[in-house]
Symmetry: C2
Subunit: 212 residues, 2 copies
DNA sequence: TATGAAATACGTGGTAACACGTAAATTTTG
DNA sequence: CAAAATTTACGTGTTACCACGTATTTCATA
């Protein structure tokens, strides 16, 4: 790896944000090779320019930042991917590590952190926003809970989050509604959900993201 | 009102977005008087500089764009307020009009629309993003439903959205839980909610924004 | 193949939510 | 003040959710 200023591409589907990030990097003298407004553009840019670093929004049309990371993992591209997002999506932290993602920044803190991040990542050291790190403890706890669920239990949990009743779930999965109830009961036990009516529905809705 | 280029202040709590917007306006030759990173700064800027136009994010620390609009309405400031937001918050359209808000733009389309918006608003004509307009029909329908609710019913709906059970609501409001049940029943009837278990909880959670 | 995990299903009992009705007290409003 | 709207409250019954237990079948895998 060279010690000169790293080559960078960026992608974000919000024009204003893209402009802000682009201007900032140019002002700071980084070697910005290009920018894209969606996942496809970002992916093509990476393929064509093979940048040292790709700073990608997570939520973009056509392809998410995570999907791009996944595709790149298969190829022989050693572009380091940094995700940048508006949301503190705790559940993404784990996935990010699986996919060789080198950084994770919140848009709210981007200006202060982006330089540090680029420097750190250039040296091959992963950089994760402190605000994200704060959540890791929680994440591991919650995710370990989620991972104790069996496939069927997860399937049912998803359907619960989609406002299905036990009977609807039962007929949809061709099983007895009593079975569904048993699964519910088991899920509640495993997840240590507070003993209130509808608490499972509430939980499912609040953690809807994770179930996708 | 002068015909020269209008004076503008902007505020957004996302540094990148703020930078993008700021750079864009400067490049386009607008008279940018200042920018703020939260509601307080934005409000002070408006008081001090009395700009023609204030472009404000809706969600900001200390004070939201809407709250600023509300405060300004009382004062003798004829700054035209344009809201800019990430979310297609249908329910805000109505409030926006009550508060003399002159524009509403989605961040996704800001670059294309921001110039038109400023021009239009400068001429004293309100500007609303087309994407928002598409939603107006739906809004009016849904809001009319919401407005048939009595104050007590709304209060209870809020508490339902906060995961309270009937008994909890009852003890919190010092009324019988039967009364709460009656209110629930009436709410369901008024809102034409589908006859499913928990449908009211689901509705309350989905329309949580409107209830604030 | 044997063991265990997972999925399936039922019994029983309790609580919460909801429908639909009645009715009195209170507040708002013309 | 009188009429209308709102809030309060209860009766009765149905359905859904949840707890806790038992028990059989299926399936992966050690």
């Amino acid at each position: 790896m060279t010690n000169s200023t790293p080559s960078i591409i960026i992608a974000d589907d919000h024009p204003l944000l893209l402009k802000g990030l682009s201007d900032f990097l140019l002002e700071k003298g980084f070697n910005l090779l290009g920018s894209g407004k969606d996942g496809r553009e970002a992916y093509n840019l990476i393929i064509q320019t093979k940048p040292d670093i790709a700073i990608l929004d997570i939520q973009m049309p056509y392809m998410s930042g995570l999907e791009i990371a996944q595709k790149c993992k298969g190829l022989d591209i050693d572009t380091k991917i940094v995700l940048i997002t508006l949301h503190k999506e705790k559940e993404l932290y784990q996935k990010a590590q699986e996919l060789n993602i080198f950084g994770y920044i919140l848009k709210e803190f981007a200006l202060e952190e982006i330089e540090n991040c680029i420097k750190t990542v250039t040296e091959g050291v992963p950089f994760f926003s402190d605000k994200i790190k704060e959540l890791i403890g929680v994440v591991l706890m919650e995710d370990s809970d989620l991972n104790t669920l069996t496939p069927s239990e997860k399937k049912i949990l998803k359907l619960i989050a989609q406002d299905k009743t036990n009977k609807e779930i039962a007929s949809q999965l061709f099983i007895s509604y009593r079975t569904v109830e048993k699964h519910r009961s088991n899920i509640i036990t495993k997840l240590n959900i507070e003993p209130k009516t509808n608490s499972l529905l509430i939980w499912a809705k609040e953690h809807h993201m994770k179930l996708l």
